[in-house]
Amino acid sequence: MHAIALNHYLIVAALLFATGFAGVLVRRNLIIVLMCLELMLNAANIALVAFARFNATPEHPLMDGNAFVFFVITVAAAEVAVGLAIVVALYRRRSTVMTDDLTALKK
């Protein structure tokens, strides 16, 4: 029976991050792109919390790492709120949420 160690958390975080990045790269739907971005932020959150938990010692409690996560969650929420609002407004004008169709600005 192995205890779950720091590395396990980090591997999960890395996988999540990679999934998010890959999704951003290949998915065409803006809403999914936004979700993938959230995934990446949360991957970083997992890493932060895991580091804070496993590196902590009585002298260095590293509570900052945990506190930071709450800021990130707030920021992510704000980001996604703005993002969805723009997507909705855009959908009203263009009737699409696909990145392929949003190419009015180019050259």
Binding site: R28, D100, T103, K106, K107
Partner: protein
Amino acid sequence: MTRTLLTILLSPLCAAALIALFGRRRGRLSAAISVASAGLQAALTLFLLVGGGWDGSTFRDTATWLTLGELQIDLGFYFNQMSALLLGVVTIVGFLIHVFAVGYSDDDKARGRFFGGLSIFMFSMTGIVLSENLFMLFIFWELVGFSSYMLIGHYLTDVASAAAKKAFIVNRVGDFGFLLGIIWCFWQFGTVSLAELPQALSASPVAACTLTFIGLLLFCGVMGKSAQMPLHVWLPDAMAGPTPVSALIHAATMVAAGVYLLGRVAFIFNPQALSVILAVGLATAFLSALFAFGQTDIKKILAYSTLSQLGFMVVAFALAGGSEGAATSQFHLTTHAFFKALLFLGAGSVIHACHHEQDIYKMGGLWKKMPVTFVTFLLATLAIAGVPYLSGFFSKDAILLLAKHANPAAFWLLVVTSFLTATYMGRIIFVAFLGKARSHAVEAAHESRPDMLFALVILAIGAVLAGYTGLYPHALASYLEANIAEPTHAEHASMLLISAILSLGGLLAAFFIYYRPGKNTDTFEKAAPGVYGVLREKLWFDNLYDWYVRAVQQRVANLVAILELVVIQGVLVRGSGGVAGLIGLAARRAHTGSLNTYFYWFAAGVLAFWLTTSGIL
């Protein structure tokens, strides 16, 4: 002292600012402001030179402008006998030309702009004269270039704006070399201060080759500003500007700035550099004198004459180098400023009287209608031809004497050039002033306003007397006498003879060739159309540059355009076949405007950064 110099430097700048603020629509006001500032400059300069404001010693005062780590750039004045001489020339000739310009520009609608430009020019030119270091000098160097650009294009015609553009671009070519020279100089010696460079030079021995390069790079600036071959093409075109501008900037002062720069950094040129400079100067002096025969526009003839005389000055410097070469060239610069400004103003007086007719074959018989202009123009012609005991005689003799001692080949080339000078100047006199009027405009000509004549007369006095160093303020006289080679008694007689023969012979030749009252064709052109054609086309220098721009520069531009097309359009957008992999995939769609493709840039960036920091890449 500092305060006086500062006032001399800044008064035209204040004038320009005032004109910009209040004078744009008030021509008379701006003329008054501009002339007043030039007058103040001249008065203060006279105070320094003859009024006891300066004791003749070298004066230096600097203030730190900015410090960058170990680099410190100063602003300041470095005022010695040589700068005093040029300051005198610039302010006094400048003032007279301002006075003349008031009358000349009375029918100009954009008078405010014109005088504003003149004042900016006076500011920048004074700055060049007084600059303590090469960096500061370069700033003013660019500023005179800018004001010259503004004033050449003053009339806003196509020809004028093309000429202004040409002058600007050709000067940029020269200035690029100049700037490289300054940077290299700083690199090598750790200073660009004109006062400290000589010590730095002797303290740190550098390879001859390096020194030659630095010298030649600095000379690039001279080639641009003083219009030496092959960068001379802009000066004849610059005659599209108003005539007082041609007189002030493109004859008397700005084009002389290059020669002045040579004198300022005389210590940096080694024999190798000097031999190149000599060749350039000789080519300019001789070929320009030839080209003058191919022109019929009075201002263009004078422009080629200016080129030729600038060639003389450069040759004078290159023959001896050091302080001797500097003084000899400055001496010719001074006399030339007087008689050439006079020639241009005389031409301006004629052009003004003939309703902007500039072709000498449309003039004729002007001596009766404009006696004062004629007499002063004649004096200037005799002076430039080198007729004994006029100003040009002394300075040109000094150059011939130097050449005779140093370089016989150069001597003979200069002798021929002097003869040609007398001939083409005689051509103007015989065709334009003597004989009979060849057009109605010229028949109706009348003498110019008294204030314009005032400037002509004063300059004429200068053109006659500027060769007598005994009349100069003591500090300047001692400078010139100490540094210019004095001929021995026997030499004196022979030089006198040579000069008399050259000048009078040249004028006589002009009389026999060109004095055909009433005829309006060029005798020489008729006799030898082939040679004349070559001269008129100025050895195709302009055509060569045009060809270069069309054939080479345009092609390179086209090539770049094609590359842009291929690389950006072809490879990045459409070239799917050749470029494989992630970056190719990202790059192919780089400019589609689609978000996903943009994310690939991020992926590539993250990858590249990570690999680099991890030491794999």
